[in-house]
Subunit: 673 residues, 2 copies
């Protein structure tokens, strides 16, 4: 087998994305009013991306120079490619998502099935762009440089963009959302997505920049990171290039499986769209499992790699299930929160936090379980070669979980497109039946979004674990020993970073939302005829507020995530940095799960009450549940997801700068000694 | 120097406690009405303790037998002593605290200074009982058995009782508090501590069982744990018994310093009582620092130990300062939460959580800093002997922080006594001036309680770190290597335990509070003339509800904390268990700080608004702040403090059972291999 198959599969994914994109473009965009509203969203989203990329260019150039001078220029070049490819994926995905939204709304005028197809195709463009550009980049760069260490630069590029896309996108979307809701729904008493609300366009743009571009960049990073980790370990474990061939071909197989799976996302007119989406996911997962068995036997002569891959894949699916269990109103946890809302917001918050805390237990135990399994199947204790093979097994488990990323992102990005379609239908005053179809699609999107979040956290954890193993090899540490106080100190500092990071993100949302609230109030007061629908609000100012806030507030967390591991590595040494990475991993994963699931559970408890339970809309319980939902917003969409990036980015920064730490690390430590 | 000085100092502390107790008993308990109310509280508290100890006896016997059969009978015997001494300290402290409360209220009729003296003396009895019984126990048992490993049994006994006292006490106090507040203050609109409220006695009992007995047992455990850790490491590091003499004598010095310091707690009639309490703390800290310099030079011939001790002591004081910074209304954080309350409960919660998360950063960094400092001053890298000396340094830092425990507990237990005094004054309808004095004393108590909580967490972290070092020696591990996936798995599982534990505790409070709410509502409805003050409520049923709930709900967390480390050690091995302890330490400390400080900040934001800011009592902002305060209650008084015990108890369980793990550990691991 030739590794050229990897970039070829990448190109196939991109061609498929292009095909889907053309199909979407050809669909009718509906009435003039619909086109007008869609153009606002499109322009807002693209304007944000452009300004984001512009701000990022400074950061990219600085890191490029640092890499070039302190590591080497080839790694620096790979870094540029990683950043560019991530940007391209986000750009392409957003272009199409903001076309698919209005066409989904229009298709909903003829029926649910057609609308589902367009919304999912829109998501699939993002999915295929992510895996296509990811595998094309890693595959081609590895073929050119034949050195996994250099290709890590690509991963760093992907991670850097991911951080800003996730944190910036998260701040953007929640500032707009909270602003639109608090003043529009609560104060002015107009419905969600009402065109009179000045923040409504910003809110819809936010869905795209947060849930399409942000999520895409997050999984682009995980995807690339897991492949790179497998490459870097595979290169050491095996003398021939088996260890390289396997992950690259497996990723290629994953892409083809995702394409085939996406063809199975077809529903009947009245069936639940959730079923169609699940079909697609199951088909691609099963295809990957079968292919990995054949591939494992062909490349390694046994089925060990197959088991490691499958362990990762199954844990990924299980985490999705757990997430659904804790965040869907079909299960007891959300119902309990809804019940607790009867005694007011305090009990809503307490029970939601308790659910979030409980929900961390099983995913973490299963990640731990997959880690052990993969380690002992592929290698184990004994010779250092054996240990390395075990670590390689962990990277394969991560890769297994991420092999169907194309499909996962497609299902995930489908959500905000359906959400947008609903918004456009409302703002264009389309008939009730249309809104009903978009509502059905949207409610499915909420579940897939929650599952997607769980998957993103799980994959981030496994990827970070795999990259952590690569790091330990790169800095040539024999052990990262917890009996060494420096490791413990690293562990403590690493553990507290997600708290600092999370607090920053939540405060950023609070500040930005306050600006938005003031602006919306101002417009309601100062624009005559706005409430009567005779005058148009100034959408653009609201879009600008979210954009400016997101760009400003993402700087400090972004810089922190890069600078702290560098400082700790240089001052306290590679072992302390290892401790830091482990501490951040554990603490970050826990906080991320807590926040994502508490947020999702509050959201759905509110929706559950809105179906008429516990007094229904407007009741005392509903008001309490709204408080929970509002607290959950920055939890699940800003601070929580930012953790994924934090733990991966810090690990890959450490991996890329490993040569530096191996040589000069621990300046302060050497002084003390 | 002879180590017999240690138990002698312990006896001196107990004699001083006896002297103070007699002084308190002699003071006048006031009017018949006051005596009656005080007797309710006293009886409720003692009834709870008795029932708690009765339930615990089963647990104690089981663990005693397990220890005897699997470790040795001497350790098992020490375990019994540790449990008994902790029980004795709690019992004695509570006896006196529930006498001091009413006498403080009566003294407040003559003036603030006299009231402060009695309240503080009451706290000092608890403080002196803790350190007296702690040092007497450890010192005497070490003199008898001359084996630090055996004496660890004493630590395990102390820890076990602490767990139940803290968790049970925490559930008790918050169930009563929430029940009394929600129905009494919010629904019925009667003031705090109104005698018509059926839950009012349970609420006052709760202050004693949670903040006196629970806190005392927590610090008893830290105190004993830090001494034992220093003994067990000191015995290995030094050939002669220097390593033993130093910690024991230092603890003795700490007791004498605390006694002297307590004599400085004297205020003028109109001065701030906070100043008097701080004076006492500073005097005892300075005395310990001076004495440790002399002791260090005398025993070791240099000042290294002095620096390690001082590092711990200073970090302890600093953590107290940080806690004040984040939880007192004199600083910006609490003011910001109060301001955010203007936009409703959601923003109150978000900003409080952000403050809690921020507040974890500095304490953790300072703990890390003290750890490095102590390690490199006393030892460092190089020979294993040198590393051991460094670990001994860490245990000295912990001991340094805890050397003034007598004073810390005294200041801390003063709070609930003053709080109770206020309640008794209110219920006995004493004049307004009296209530004003008790209010002043109480508000100081709130600050000292917050600081005390910070100190308890910090000391738990350092003690657990020191015990962790002892554990690694006891299981004879050369490394606890994060590159070993078993360690990582342990780290992940350890990290999630505080989440599970916290969720259990918060749910327990919710359930118990619901029972209490129903009972209070029932009494208001069914007892004729109650609201008019013509009939008496049935206090006893409310006391019983809290008692039963606390005893029932503490079982699962208690058993978990003992069984999980045993299972992990036996199944996955000593290294995985090491990972688990480290993971639980990091995650537990962070959650504990977040919960304690967010809770404290919400509490004071509410009080700040009640002074008239942002609309004052009854305003929209005030209602939002009350939600924050209610969420904060189980945070700061139940789930948060339970973390301290969890991390210490799991570590000491691991330490005591180390011989078992060293021999039979890793059954499952060996099967996989």
């Amino acid at each position: 087998m030739n590794i050229v198959l990897a970039p070829i599969a990448g190109v196939i994914a991109l061609l498929f994305a292009l095909y889907l994109s053309n199909k979407i473009s050809k669909a009718d965009a509906g009435t003039d009013r619909m086109k007008e509203i869609a153009s606002y969203i499109h322009e807002g989203a693209m304007a944000f991306l452009m300004r984001e990329y512009k701000s990022l260019s400074i950061f990219i150039i600085v890191v490029f120079l640092v890499l070039g001078f302190f590591i080497n220029w080839l790694t620096a070049l790979c870094f540029i490619f990683g950043a560019l490819f991530s940007i391209l994926a986000g750009f392409f995905g957003m272009q199409v998502a903001t076309k698919a939204n209005v066409r989904t709304a229009n298709a909903a005028r003829t029926g649910q099935n057609k609308a589902l197809e367009i919304a999912f195709s829109g998501g699939a463009v993002m999915g295929m762009s992510v895996v296509g550009l990811g595998l094309l980049g890693v595959g081609a760069l590895y073929m050119i440089f034949k050195d996994a260490n250099i290709v890590t630069g690509f991963g760093l590029g992907a991670s850097s963009i991911a951080l800003f896309a996730r944190v910036g996108g998260g701040i953007y979307t929640k500032a707009a959302d909270v602003g639109a809701d608090l003043v529009g729904k609560v104060e002015a008493g107009i419905p969600e997505d009402d065109p009179r609300n000045p923040a409504v366009i910003a809110d819809n743009v936010g869905d795209n920049v947060g849930d399409v571009a942000g999520m895409g960049a997050d999984l682009f990073e995980s995807y690339v990171g897991s492949i790179i980790s497998a490459l870097s370990l595979g290169a050491i474990v095996f003398n021939d290039n088996k260890g390289i061939i396997f992950p690259l071909i497996l990723a290629a197989v994953g892409i083809i499986s995702s394409i085939i799976g996406s063809l199975f996302v077809k529903g009947d007119e009245n069936s639940n769209p959730q079923k169609a989406l699940k079909n697609g996911t199951y088909v691609s997962s099963i295809l990957v499992i079968i292919a990995s068995a054949i591939l494992s036997k062909t490349v390694f002569g046994d089925y060990k790699a197959f088991f490691a891959i499958t362990a990762g894949l199954i844990v990924g699916v299980l985490i999705g299930q757990f997430t659904e269990m804790y965040t869907s109103a079909d299960y007891s946890h959300v119902k309990k929160i809804a019940k607790q809302s009867e005694t007011g917001p305090a009990t809503t918050i307490i029970s939601g936090l308790a659910v979030g805390m409980y929900s961390a237990v099983l995913p973490v135990v299963f990640i731990a379980f997959a880690t052990i399994l993969a380690f002992f199947i592929m290698g184990g204790y004994g010779s250092s070669q054996n240990v390395l093979a075990g670590l390689y097994g962990i990277s394969l488990a991560a890769l297994g979980m991420l092999s169907t990323t194309g499909m996962t992102v497609a299902v995930d990005a489908y959500g905000p497109i359906a959400d947008n379609a609903g918004g456009i239908a409302e703002m264009s005053e389309l008939p009730k039946e249309v809104r009903k179809i978009t509502d059905t699609l949207d409610s499915v999107g909420n579940t897939t979004a929650a599952i997607g979040k769980g998957f993103a956290i799980g994959s981030a954890a496994l990827t970070a674990l795999a990259l952590f193993a690569s790091y330990s090899q790169a800095v040539q540490l024999k052990a990262i020993d917890l009996l060494n106080p420096m490791t413990l100190v690293g562990l403590l500092i690493g553990g507290v970073l997600p708290y600092f990071f999370g607090a920053l993100a939540m405060e950023a949302v609070g500040k930005a939302a306050n600006h938005m609230i003031e602006e919306v109030r101002r417009q309601f007061k100062s624009i005559p005829g706005l409430m009567e629908g005779k005058a148009k609000p100034d959408y653009k100012t609201c879009v600008d507020i979210s954009t400016a806030a997101a760009l400003k507030e993402m700087v400090l967390p972004g810089v922190l995530a890069v600078v702290v591991p560098l400082l700790v590595g240089l001052l306290l040494g590679a072992e302390a940095l290892g401790g830091l990475l482990a501490g951040a991993l554990v603490s970050g994963v826990l906080v991320a799960i807590l926040m994502a699931n508490a947020g999702g559970a509050w959201d759905n408890a509110k929706k559950y009450i809105e179906t008429g339970e516990h007094g229904g809309k407007g009741s005392f319980a509903h008001k309490a549940a709204v408080v929970g939902d509002t607290v959950g917003d920055p939890f699940k969409d800003t601070a929580g997801p930012a953790m994924n990036i934090l733990i991966k980015l810090m690990t890959i920064v450490s991996l890329v700068f490993a040569p530096l730490f191996a040589k000069f690390g621990g300046i302060l430590l050497n002084l003390i000694k």
